[in-house]
């Protein structure tokens, strides 16, 4: 790549990523502002005061919430990776009657609006006596048509020679799945993992509906608790909450990014 090309690309990179990141930066700035400053629509705070942050932490058991969020998100992530990769494997490497139909049935679950399932599911959870438990927060999300779909798309690109070589080596189906398919699909697994973790982390309504106290509540509820309805919202505090809540996820994305880069195993057939 020539130098002018490089400069041009860097220019585009910087410009567009700044645009994309701008809202986050904006929230970051606001989190340091006082009420009047915000209302006056400033971009830079006069002084960087941590008052809003101290308020956030004093108002909520935020560390607790963060921990809960982490436990729940990590469990859902692992659960999804297992359940989805198993299903995707079956859809790609096993031949059976009705495969396409079942796959489409899976896909169709994505099209069902969650509103249609929410209320019956709340009752199901209550009947299982899973209110205020981690399993209530996690198990319903283990099966994910999206994840199955994502992994299936990736599995389809695995060269068939690898499957053949493993069959000849006498690998059982599970071993092939475990030792070849999964490692080769690291990119997609990391993507799905990040997706699962983040969506769970960002979930609001479900955790709210099936928890009635703080024991297992997650951080998004905390975020909502910072905003008021009729009483004027303290935006500085809310934005501070937003920043506190997104920092772990951004961190995760950054780490995931590294993993992705490392895990990229380019095909080395012939």
């Amino acid at each position: 790549m020539g130098l002018p090309q490089k400069i041009w690309i860097y220019f585009l990179l910087i410009l567009t990523s700044a645009l994309v990141f701008f809202p986050v930066l904006y929230a970051f700035m606001i989190s340091f502002m006082t009420g009047p400053e915000i209302i006056q629509g400033k971009f830079f705070p006069q002084t960087f005061s941590f008052e809003n942050y101290t308020k956030v932490f004093s108002r909520l058991p935020l560390m607790n919430y963060l921990l809960n969020s982490f436990i729940v998100s990590a469990s859902v992530m692992i659960g999804q990776l297992i359940v989805c990769s198993l299903a995707a494997y079956a859809f790609v490497f096993l031949k059976f009657k009705g495969r396409d139909f079942i796959f489409f049935l899976f896909i169709s679950t994505m099209m069902i609006p969650w509103e249609a399932t929410m209320i019956p599911n709340v009752f199901t959870i209550r009947n299982l006596d899973w209110y205020n438990t981690y399993q209530g927060l996690t198990v319903p999300f283990f099966a994910l048509a999206f994840g199955t779909f994502l992994l299936r798309q990736h599995f389809l690109t695995i060269p068939k020679e690898l499957h053949e070589a493993s069959q000849i080596a006498g690998l059982s189906r599970f071993k092939f799945f475990w030792k070849v398919v999964l490692p080769v699909s690291k990119t997609s697994l990391v993507t799905l993992g990040a997706y699962g973790f983040l969506t769970t982390w960002n979930m609001y309504l479900w955790p709210l509906l099936i928890t009635t106290n703080q024991s297992v509540r997650t951080v998004q509820i905390g975020l909502k608790q910072l905003q008021s309805q009729e009483i004027a919202t303290e935006w500085g505090v809310v934005m501070a909450g937003v920043i506190v809540v997104i920092i772990p996820t951004l961190l995760l994305l950054f780490l995931g990014q590294k993993q992705l880069q490392k895990g990229l195993s380019k095909g080395a057939l012939k």
Binding site: G35, P36, I39, Q40, G41, R59, I119, V122, F123, R126, N127, D129, W130, Y131, N132, T133, L205, L208, L209, T212, N213, Q214, S215, I221, K224, Q225, L226, Q227, S228, Q229, E230, I231, A232, T233, E234, W235, V237
Partner: protein, 431 residues
């Protein structure tokens, strides 16, 4: 329906759930509320105060999301042992709660305990009384007020100490106040304000005495009073003196603080923030009324506390004690100062800390005066219908269409029609 099945099942795994604690000494109950932000902060403080004030009961305040969300959750456990002893429900849920069969009317405890209701604000109680019986304990109450920019008044040559009172006065003032970026008047696109402007003219929202003598079947808000309101807004909108800042509380507030609008209608709970955030002098006034009628006053808004039925007796006992505590002047004074909601116990206004605050911000007094000046009656008692949220939505749509230049009567009628259908279905399906 599934209360039977739930009756036998034990409360869920972790011990925080309502019910007596193991040693049987302290009765622990749950209090579900929908107060976030500063409201929650204050509630936690008050609850802590209660728990420390005695040894028999322990209240756990748990946030359950917005009013709608917490009501949805209540429907999951209502009428069973899992239900919280106390739930905070917004005012428009009143009818629903009464009909639901989940709750124990307040009145039974008041009678048993010979509790003196007269110490509480009458105009607030009125809302929650049906057929003379009090169903829930008022808690966080607010009314609408008109907030205005005194500096802008001065600049426009208006008297900053005398806010316009009638619709036509407001229209005229708005005309003068509108300059460049600043609009004269605004109102949050929210059904509640419409209800208030209808009620202050003495107009009813629905038939059957505003739903208080039976299940309402027909909307009345598209009558002359309602039309007055719509015309009032329409006039200003067409004259370009009305600013539309949407459905979000904070948007309209920031518009005011940044001098995009000179007068607007807000909740009494928003007064403090308006004063704090605005770099100019802020005035508070009564809401306007139509020229041809007498001012009736305002309807109470906010939420109240409901006691569950079907839970252990000592839990109800605990709940009652807590509610009484919450109604004491000291607590109410604190609540009023923290949040800007009314004190349901007017004695609170005599507390030192309140007086101090009022001295500093005389605007607060206006809100209380407006409430106390209210003429009791069917109109200001407020309507009682179970489909209120839906009806409010119809009004929002009507307002939005009005601002788009549609005919006032037409859009109102459409809203009324929608409300009628909702009421019809609700009545049909009622058990």
């Amino acid at each position: 329906t599934n209360s039977d099945s739930k009756e036998s099942s034990t409360p869920s795994t972790d011990g925080n759930k309502g019910g007596t604690t193991n040693d049987g000494e302290k009765v622990s109950i749950e209090f579900w509320h929908a107060m976030s932000g500063t409201g929650q902060e204050s509630i936690d403080k008050l609850v802590k105060g209660f728990n420390e004030s005695q040894d028999n009961y322990e209240v756990k305040a748990e946030y359950q999301g917005s009013y709608e969300e917490s009501l949805t959750k209540l429907r999951g456990v209502g009428g069973t042992k899992d239900a919280p002893a106390i739930t905070q429900v917004f005012e428009v849920g009143t009818k629903y709660m009464i009909d639901s069969g989940y709750i124990e009317p307040m009145q039974s405890f008041i009678d048993k305990d010979n509790y003196d209701l007269s110490q509480l604000e009458e105009n607030i109680l009125n809302y929650y009384k049906v057929d003379g019986e009090l169903y829930s304990m008022p808690f966080n109450s607010s009314t609408p007020v008109m907030i205005y920019n005194k500096d802008a008044f001065k600049a426009a040559g208006l008297d900053p100490e005398k806010a316009p009172g009638t619709f036509s006065e407001v229209i005229a003032a708005a005309e003068k106040l509108t300059t460049g970026d600043m609009k004269g008047f605004s109102m949050l696109t929210y059904g509640w304000f419409f209800e208030q402007l209808v009620a202050t003219q003495g107009g009813l929202y629905v038939n059957e005495d505003n739903g208080r003598s039976g299940d309402a079947t027909e909307a009345l808000f598209n009558g002359p009073e309602g039309l007055n309101v719509f015309n009032f807004l329409n006039d200003m909108n067409e004259a370009g003196t009305f600013g539309n800042f949407g459905t979000v509380w904070d948007d309209i507030r920031s518009a005011f603080s940044t001098e995009k609008v000179a007068m607007y209608m807000d909740s009494s709970a928003g007064v403090a923030a308006a004063i704090n955030n605005s770099p100019f002098e802020v005035g508070v006034a009564y809401i306007p009324y139509a020229d041809e009628v007498q001012r009736n006053g305002v309807v109470i808004g906010g939420a109240s506390l409901w006691m569950s039925k079907g839970i252990a007796e000592e839990e109800q006992e605990a709940a009652w004690e807590f509610m009484k505590y919450m109604a004491t002047p000291e607590v109410q004074a604190q609540w009023h100062l923290d949040t800007g909601y009314f004190a349901i116990n007017p004695a609170a206004y005599d507390e030192e800390n309140v007086k101090e605050k009022w001295a500093e911000f005389p605007q607060f007094k206006v809100t209380v005066d407006q409430l106390q000046d209210t003429v009791p009656g069917l109109a200001t008692q407020g309507a009682l219908i179970s489909v209120f949220p839906e009806s409010r939505q119809q009004i929002v749509t009507a307002l939005e269409e009005l601002y788009q230049g549609n005919d006032p009567q037409e859009v109102l009628d459409k809203a009324a029609e929608g409300t009628n259908r909702a009421m019809e279905i609700a009545n049909k399906t009622k058990k």
